[in-house]
């Protein structure tokens, strides 16, 4: 099957407008006869459900959580980008587009990325109209801040809870449609297969997580907004329930999985505390606006810090290595995430880590300079002459508290250390996956009528996503792109009528789902699901993580395949099928991660270059920077399932750059 990205003709800036003018529409009366299934209620799924329902479609929406409001978009902290240029600092649609392409290390599609930048401003208008309480300045206008990899302030925020406020906005829009009966909401339901009839996605098989009942649901189109697959690493900043199952089942039914190896390892997370840990917590990138990252300059100081005999605050300025400021003077602490993460790993591998755990991995994120600077500013504003150091620090802390208070509290709860008094300790952790289901310009996968939006697709961020762009993409896809492009496909379905769930394809899919559940429950092995998940996570982190090599990837592929076999022989899943059984839910998800992990490593092995979040040790410059190979690898790797991850076939979509020049990314 050939890969046609269906990018419209014409100049970059007119493509989306022209496309909207030329695609088919469905008239309002006909929309009432068309059903759409949406899986997932994060920013993408929530906003798409609401908008599709407003347009008149009958929407059935599914989430595994007990309420759509709990989808993991809720945990996004820092902000959402939009090319509003409210700060008058030279921002524009083009600049946001350019920053995104560059930040993604030239591995995303120009047309998709430009459209994302184009609709970004509409998102902010829409959210304010919904009552999203963004941060404002004293003049009552919207405030902005800066994020990594850019030189303008275009990030809108609501303290450190921007994702929460945007998601509750989408949830409120959904509630209005649920009340009208236009959205039928299925909480505590998990999609376990997609049903394909005559080559078209026509429904899903879902498990009611309370009763265990396996249900058939039909529709004219299916939209997967099921998020990313970072939990393949076990430890990540994802929610415990975040999983790849919906996307993976779609992959097994024919949808191509694109660039699985593009993973974002976020530089500022709280370091691992021990083997009993279940998840990692992010400290927002916005902290890098004011925090300075460093490690001790001397190995003996690093050792003394780890042993607790030397306090970081007692290390003098000249004995600190602000390594990001040293290596990247023009972007400093605000380099993109992949660059910041690798730099932290480089220092810790060299022995300068400051955390007293198995790996010593951790660096400082220090606010003392910002506290001092803000304190002096505040003293000036208040007209206090010759303020004392104590006064300055007190006023400075107030300013920091107003900006990042909830993050500082969160840090203190987890670590029992006070970040106003001593620098935070941070280390990179798995956070986001740029790879996902392959989609064309209309966000449709290669399976007709099967769409994928938000983090679940691969489309806009290339090999590395910029901070505050995930929220932007989720809402762009759900509010402003999918609801229009899906009409072009559904226009052909106005006479189809209801899809019957009695079709043999539904029956067959249901039987397969039931069989897998039975085999998991009957297995009666000796090891828990968590045992396998943790083992998989360690393989992924050590061999397919921040740095990958031919050797480590080959080992990973072998080990994952062996672990998968062990899982099916020896996993122990308690309880019954017809009850709330979270171990059974986890088992199904881990089974899919065990397949995805192998494909992930294969994708990394075949991409003989370093780009964005994908760093191959064989491909680096003398200074240790990523070495891209545009002549051979400027393509999207879209994998087709043929029965086993090891036998997947790669299809290549060449990336054409007509509006930006391919350059080596430099943040120096």
């Amino acid at each position: 099957m050939s890969l046609d990205s269906n990018i419209p003709e014409g100049p970059l800036k007119d493509k989306w407008t022209n496309h909207k003018n030329n695609i088919n529409l469905v008239n309002p009366a006909n929309k009432r006869n068309i059903d759409v299934i949406v899986v997932g209620t994060g920013l993408a799924g929530g906003s798409a459900s609401a908008t599709l329902a407003e347009l008149g479609y009958n929407v059935k929406t599914f989430c595994y959580q007990d309420s759509p409001r709990r989808a993991h978009s809720i945990a996004a902290q820092g902000g959402i980008n939009a090319a509003k240029n409210y700060q008058g600092d030279g921002d524009s649609t083009y600049r946001l587009f350019y920053d995104t392409i560059k930040g993604g290390d030239y591995r995303s599609r120009e047309a998709n990325t430009y459209r994302l930048a184009e609709v970004s401003a509409n998102i902010i208008d829409q959210c304010v109209a919904q009552g999203v309480p963004f941060a404002r300045d004293y003049g009552g206008l919207l405030d902005n801040r800066s994020f990594g990899g850019v030189l303008v302030s275009r990030t809108f925020y609501a303290k450190g809870q921007t994702g929460q406020q945007l998601l509750l906005g989408a949830y409120s829009a959904m509630n209005r449609q649920i009340a009208k009966g236009k959205i039928k909401m299925y909480n505590r339901h998990e999609m376990l297969d997609v049903v394909i009839v005559d080559g078209k996605a026509r429904g899903i098989i879902a498990r009611n997580l309370v009763t265990g009942e396996i249900e058939r649901h039909s529709a004219h189109a299916v939209v997967l907004a099921s998020g990313g697959y970072g939990n393949v690493f076990f430890l990540s900043t994802n929610a415990m329930g975040s999983n790849v199952t919906a996307a993976w089942k779609a992959h097994k039914k024919g949808a191509y999985f694109a660039n699985p190896c593009y993973t974002q390892i976020h530089p500022t997370c709280i370091p691992v505390h021990g083997t009993q840990q279940s998840k990692l917590t992010l400290m927002s990138e916005s902290l890098r606006n004011d925090g300075r990252i460093w490690v001790p300059k001397n190995l003996e100081d690093a050792k003394a810090v780890r042993e607790g005999t030397l306090k970081p605050t007692d290390i003098s300025e000249e004995n600190r290595d602000y390594y990001l400021e040293r290596r990247y003077p023009s972007f400093g602490n605000l380099v993109p995430r992949d660059v910041a993460s690798r730099a932290a790993k480089e220092r810790c591998d060299a022995g300068y880590g400051v955390v007293n755990n198995d790996t010593n991995e951790g660096v400082f994120l220090d606010f003392s300079a910002a506290i001092d600077r803000y304190g002096k500013e505040e003293a000036h504003v208040r007209g206090i002459e010759n303020p004392s150091t104590d006064e300055i620090r007190k006023m400075g802390k107030k300013v920091i508290e107003s900006k990042y208070g909830n993050l500082f509290e969160m840090y203190q709860q987890i670590t029992a250390e006070n970040p106003y008094e001593t620098p935070m300790k941070i280390y990179p952790a798995v956070h986001y996956t740029m790879g996902g289901l392959w989609v064309d310009y209309n966000l449709m996968t290669n399976v007709k009528g099967l769409y994928s939006i938000g983090e679940a697709n691969f489309s806009d961020h290339g090999a590395n996503r910029l901070g505050a762009s995930a929220l932007m993409q989720g809402l762009a896809d759900g509010y402003f792109v999918l609801p229009y492009t899906i009409g072009d496909y559904l226009a052909a379905d106005i006479r189809t009528g209801k899809i019957s769930t009695e079709l043999p394809e539904f029956k067959e899919a249901e039987q397969k789902v039931t069989a897998q559940i039975e085999s998991l429950l009957k297995n009666n092995g000796s090891k828990t699901v968590d045992y396998f998940h943790k083992k998989l996570g360690l393989i992924m982190w050590n061999k397919v993580g921040m740095a990958r090599s031919i050797e480590s990837l080959n080992q990973a592929i072998e080990e994952i395949a062996a672990l998968r076999e062990e899982f099916w022989n020896d996993v122990k899943v308690p309880g019954d099928a017809n009850e709330l059984n979270s171990e059974l839910e986890k088992a199904g998800r881990v089974a899919d991660f065990l397949e995805l992990g192998e494909l992930f490593a294969r994708d990394a092995l075949e991409r003989d270059e370093s780009c964005g979040g994908h760093f191959r040790e064989e491909f680096q410059t003398e200074e240790g920077e990523a070495l891209r190979r545009d002549d051979e690898f400027a393509y999207v790797a879209a994998w087709e399932y043929t029965g086993k991850p090891s036998e997947a076939i790669v299809h290549k979509e060449d990336l054409k750059f007509e509006n930006v020049e391919l350059k080596t990314r430099s943040y120096k």
Partner: protein, 254 residues
């Protein structure tokens, strides 16, 4: 991080097979729990031990494990989300307990939150209250007015934000002797009441949401303030006063 000795704990946990059956407290012994573990990690450890022994693990709701999704609940030693102020159960760490402690773990108790299994309750009543008016009626169009067209005084914007940080966990209901949902309902009412965008539908919103809360079986507010004390997000009971004013205004106008 620390090499501190693990905690040996006695756990008294509410076990209930389903909504129909009768539940009771079961006793479990769990040893060598790291004080750096979170409370839910402690339950993970217990569950893995139970599974290995062939017993059924304890069901509990949880997801983000960073205090924002509102999925986790648990009534720990008689307090919603346990000891510690302004945190959810997933943010509670075992260093808040001592070696040898006995810990009681129960589900939220409220008629409007029926138990599904063990520590898991059905909070869909909260969703239905939001369906009754927790929104501003604006379609997605790309043609709404510019986001900066209406300046909003910072003080009101900040207060609206503070109310909007409610995570819908239900601790307020669990803490209240009347199982009232007033803090939850008032948080949404307040967010919109403080913003110009929320004015158009203000009357119907407050009337419908309050009516729905009553219909779901939540009790009346008697101003004890227990909800505010236990709210993990520090939502103020001033919001309840604001809701009452809005309600009165709307009732008079009707």
């Amino acid at each position: 991080m620390s090499g501190a000795k693990g905690l040996d704990l006695t756990l008294k946990i509410w076990r209930q097979k389903n909504a129909q059956s009768k539940g009771k407290l079961e006793t479990y012994q769990l040893n060598s729990v790291s004080p750096d573990s979170s409370f839910l990690e402690m339950l993970d450890i217990l569950n893995n031990e139970l599974i290995e022994k062939g017993e059924s693990p304890v069901e509990f709701d949880h997801d983000c494990r960073e205090g924002i999704c509102g999925a986790c609940s648990l009534y720990i030693n008689g307090e919603p989300h346990g000891p510690g102020k302004r945190i959810t159960t997933c943010q509670l760490h075992m260093r808040s307990f001592n070696d040898g402690d006995t810990i009681y773990i129960e589900p939220w108790r409220a008629r409007a939150f029926p138990i599904i299994k063990d520590l898991v309750v059905d909070r869909s009543a909260f969703d239905r209250i939001q369906h009754a008016g927790g929104y501003i009626s604006v379609n997605t169009s790309g043609n709404t007015q510019d986001a900066n067209a209406i300046p909003i005084e910072k003080e009101y914007a900040d207060e609206a934000f503070d109310a909007a940080t409610c995570i819908g966990c239900g601790a307020c209901v669990a803490a209240c002797k009347n199982a009232s949902a007033s803090l939850f309902v008032s948080a949404k009412i307040s967010q919109y009441a403080l913003l110009p965008q929320g004015q158009v539908e203000a009357k119907n919103r407050v009337l419908n949401m309050v009516k729905q809360a009553e219909k779901e079986g939540f009790g009346p507010c008697s101003n004890t303030g227990a909800c505010e004390v236990e709210c993990p997000k520090g939502i103020s009971i001033e919001n309840i006063a604001r809701m009452n004013r809005e309600f009165l205004k709307a009732s008079i106008a009707e």
